[in-house]
């Protein structure tokens, strides 16, 4: 049984039919990448899975249970965390407060303190700045904070929306290294990226989205070799 099973979901914004029957699966321990151009429905797919939007029809099953009608705040304790698009750190809260919000649903003080140390180990920069207000961090540091904050909920499935967006090339490398590290420690990852090149390099499998539909799905290696993917998303003629 797959950890996440999205079955033919249709999502609307008002009258706009944003997702036209998306189906995908993510197995435990995988990194799965969703690639596609602007407006393909990548972010909408993640927002639907995370419960911010309720699909009009179709099912989302997590760990075997249907979660399509759950609202976002109810899914965190079930084991789904999201690193939102544009990072979405709380600009006026301190770094530590941001991280503690990630652990909002938990009441195990010792476990939270332990995980805070773990996050500081992965991102020593955050430890240096822990009393600083998040709005004063650089883009790269905010990305670390958003990722660390999601890890504070001890997720089984981590949804990441464009983690490399707006980052300098060096930081993009570092971000994808972190993604691999997190995955190796046992967290399953569903990754949405415009940077298809990097996304397919770290992923086990990938899906290609176009105007609300999945047009291709395969292992990441096969997708990298696929001529249409090369042409449209990897810039290889």
């Amino acid at each position: 049984m797959a950890l996440l099973e999205v079955n033919d979901i249709h999502t609307y914004y008002g009258n706009i039919h944003a997702l036209k029957g998306i189906s995908l699966t993510v197995e435990k321990g995988e990194i799965v990448s969703l690639i596609g151009g602007n407006g393909a429905g990548k972010t909408t797919t993640l927002r639907t899975i995370s419960g911010l939007i309720t699909p009009r029809s179709g099912g989302v099953a997590f760990d075997g249970a249907d979660i399509s009608q759950y609202r976002a705040h109810q899914l965190v304790s079930k084991g789904i965390a999201m690193v939102p698009e544009g990072r979405g750190v709380f600009a006026r809260l301190s770094v530590t407060e941001n991280l503690n919000m990630g652990a909002y649903h938990r009441n195990d003080k010792d476990g939270i303190a332990e995980d805070l140390e773990k996050v500081f180990q992965i991102f020593p920069r955050l430890k240096e700045r822990r009393t600083q207000v998040a709005g004063t961090l650089s883009g790269g540091e905010q990305q670390m904070l958003a990722t660390g904050r999601a890890l504070m909920s001890r997720p089984d499935l981590l949804l990441m929306d464009e983690p490399s967006m707006g980052l300098a090339p060096v930081l993009v490398e570092a971000t994808f290294e972190t993604i691999e590290t997190i995955n190796k420690e046992g967290t399953t990852i569903l990754l949405v990226e415009q940077n298809a090149h990097m996304a397919l390099q770290v992923a086990d499998r990938g899906y290609v989205l176009q105007t609300g539909e999945i047009v291709l799905s395969n292992t990441a290696k096969e997708l990298q070799r696929d001529p249409t993917v090369q042409k449209a998303y990897l810039g290889i003629e």
Binding site: A72, F90, M101
Partner: protein, 356 residues
Amino acid sequence: MSQRFKDIDYIGVVLWLFRTAIVVVVLWGTISKLFLEQGNAYTTIDWIDFLIAGLSQGSLYALIALGYTLVYGVLFMINFAHGEFFMSGTMTATIFVALPLSSSGFLDANPILGMLIIIIVAMLVSVGVALLTERVAYRPLRRAPRLVPLITAIGASFFWQYFFRGLYGSTLIPFPELQVLVGKWTVFGIEILKTRAVVMVASVIMLIGLYIFIMRTKTGTAIRAVAEDKDIAALMGIDVDRTISITFATGAAMAGAAGILYGMVFRQVHFFMGFVPGIKAFTAAVLGGIGSIPGAALGGLFLGLIEAVGPPLFLEGLGIPGAHQLKDVIAFTMLVLVLIFRPQGIVGERLAEKKA
């Protein structure tokens, strides 16, 4: 040269004239009061009295202003029914708790315990009314354009006013006098009415308590997170609706407590008592910078002070009779001036920055 004349910003000039005119009037009034007037000048003691009265009134405004600022912080909505949260708890606690406790002699035998019971009942009723209003009138409109909940809030305000008028009648109801609080205390050689001293101390304790709640507790941090971004807060596992209810409840609890302190000072309650203090506290919240908790506290104190000191200092020297009747004019002139010259308030941030 002619190009430069075309570039004159006429609105800027008018505002500059307006500002200058007000400064001149204020200075003229102040100088003639302090230096030119013969005979009925105030003594230092009188001025200290004005200051204390202002601080005591201002701390009440501050407590009520918190409710406006907290709700605005999370919903960007002016909850005009907040004055009614203040009134509902005060009237209910006065009629059902304070008067019976007073006539049975319990209140004068155990003044601290008695007042605590009265305040807690007032807070509970205010919180109940606030939660009901939020659930029934505001929550269904969460995604409506901003003008809609504003009008609903005005409607809710009228609803509660006339609901409680129907329930308790439209007469003035006396708030019982506490024997221990009759008279004055002397602090550092200054005489202070006991009720005013109690109001100030109680308000400061509550303001500090609220600040710690918002800044140091998990729930308080969640309120600040919801104020910044509701979707992201939900992704953290924060129940946004519940957190908004807690925000309303917190503001209403402060208002309920403020209402009993108000009753102690003014010794009477009635169904319309929430209107003027509500509008004044809203003014205080805007003065301080709406959305900011220290701003609400500072704005409240500032408004109270200017109301008490302003008429004798600025207006009497101009030969205006009955200057004290004009304290509301001063209060609302301050509001207009702040909106014109410093829209972000004393400590507030510019709205544009807030959205960034």
